[in-house]
Symmetry: C2
Subunit: 333 residues, 2 copies
């Protein structure tokens, strides 16, 4: 778990989109951040107070979170001086970038000198167990997608928010770098050794109160040739009671796979249920989440309504409408 | 790839079963071994010439293969002196044990001194790519099981042997430690990082002649909660044209999972085909392999015949009958 609150490092972000990790933290964990730190030429702005390292420490910041990604996911040389200052001032540093903090000798030396941590959330630090398949108390919901990057994380976070607003017990469980940085903990599933994938998800979603819901962040897709094994490990390790189908309606082919088309929502429903019921015979699909960002209001509404009729399930765009109806569907189970 | 031929090290094997890796090499690659090396109290005997290290080197041995496993998969202290002698005499050492050769300082020093390799086949040494899902030339067959350890490796090796006898082009492709030691190369799939599983299988089964068959060693089961993700990565990375269903008929529950029962062969067929056709729409189930070791001749024959009738597919026990009929089914495709 990361120490909170954070100082969100936006660096020299080339545009707002490159600061999407920081934006996610601000959106979903507004209490986690005391401010932002921007270098000259930063093209992103979260609207948080601009703080120096010393001001951030004075405001209580415990961890500088690298909330920006440049092309290639590298740690830029122009960031290093700020990182060294943060360590010297008593903050940890957390990053989900491809290049690791721990591979930067000057940061390692500075962290050792000041007794601080360098946290590369992309790298597992736990020796996860082999999955046991034993039924656990508490309820679990998993978002599964027709493809990668269709809004599974967003859907689970929006459901958590809606459930908390209704007074329900719910915990978003992160399985990817961005989710881990947003919520402060989780399992970087795509970096786990094959034999321990499902076990890491069991570890992430332990026994809980009977009326508590884990909202497990989905990864990949059962229909994505590159990552389907990760998805199935999530389904069998998570043993979900409820599945939400996630879809992006304007994609011309599967992400990164020009020869592959997305499955229909019907096919995804049937396949995901077949696989989920191997470990949880009571598993149900409770709703559909469609990312309509590429559509105008009228087209989005038409699509949501027609999908709802065809599939007979609550169908929402959680960005446009919130996830209340999905939360209600869980409450009704 | 391991350098052949081998000296098979049986050590102080507690019984013949603990030397099953060595037995597998002798059975499936009889030309690979110049002899066996047994320590005092060895209870296994492959019927190969007993050779000292010097005699093995004189006979051409290039690699000492650790063909024995003690309880826990450790490297025993009583083996080390022999391993040091082998390195000094110019042999590599290969092992699939849980404890690694590379973690034994005296072996590392001796290997460096003599310019030899310590090969822990349990640990990937290749940086595998992300799977592309691009269709490859050549044909592929994958064994999928109702459970773990139901005879998938044996089936694929028996099919390779039968196909070679018929003059067909066929290559067994190992995905586990034992298979890698038997054939001298492969991918230790259960130790690959999640994101690269399917890519490692594409790497293992590259484009080939149109009439060449890769016989891919199966792992786990789509129905095994602990390892199903590994199995699905094999299906999507292997993109098999043909599937063989493997089954052990006397098991009381899924291996290691007391709360789970094996699926029916019908369910396995339908689920495996659904998943395989995502990447290879022409995929077919071409036969069934049943491990009848726990049955007498009459019961085995009755079961094989009734299964063949029920499923409408060639059904064999490759240990009792060979895999000729499965090879014929591939030839007919």
């Amino acid at each position: 778990m990361l120490n909170t609150p954070y100082l969100l490092f936006l660096g020299d972000a080339a545009d707002p989109l490159s600061a999407k990790v920081a934006q996610g933290i601000k959106d979903w964990r507004p209490d986690f951040s005391v401010g932002q730190l921007r270098l000259p030429d930063c093209k992103a702005d979260l609207g948080l107070p601009d703080l120096s390292i010393d001001e951030a420490v004075a405001a209580g910041a415990k961890t500088l979170v690298v909330g920006v990604a440049n092309r290639g996911g590298f740690i830029s040389e122009v960031w290093i001086k700020t990182f060294e200052e943060a360590l010297a001032a008593g903050m940890d540093i957390a990053s989900g970038l491809h290049n690791l903090l721990r591979d930067q000798p000057s940061l390692v030396a500075m962290a050792e000198k000041h007794g601080r941590q360098l946290i590369d959330v992309r790298v597992p630090t736990v020796e996860y167990p082999i999955a046991t398949g034993v039924k656990r108390t508490g309820k679990r919901c998993l978002a599964v997608g027709t493809d990668c990057s269709v809004g599974k994380m967003y859907t689970a976070l929006a459901m958590e928010k809606a459930m908390h607003a209704k007074g329900m017990k719910a915990s978003f469980r992160a399985t990817g770098q961005t989710g881990i940085l947003i919520t402060g903990g989780g399992v970087p599933l795509d970096a786990v050794i094959a034999d321990f994938m499902a076990g890491s998800v069991e570890y992430l979603t332990p026994p809980n109160d009977d009326d508590h819901w884990d909202l497990i962040e989905g990864q990949g897709s059962l229909y994505h040739a590159s990552y389907s094994g990760v998805t199935l490990a999530l389904i069998h390790g998570g043993a979900p009671d409820a599945l939400v189908l996630c879809h992006e309606p304007t994609r011309e082919h599967m992400r990164g796979l020009p020869d592959y088309q997305q499955p229909s929502l019907q096919d995804l429903r049937d396949t995901a249920l077949t696989m989920a019921r191997i470990v949880n015979p009571a598993a149900q699909v409770i709703g559909i989440s469609i990312n309509t960002a590429a559509l105008n209001d009228a087209d989005a509404n038409t699509l949501l309504q027609s999908t709802e009729q065809e599939m007979g399930l609550p169908t929402v765009d959680p960005f446009r409408q919130g996830a209340d109806r999905l939360a209600d569907a869980l409450a009704a189970m």
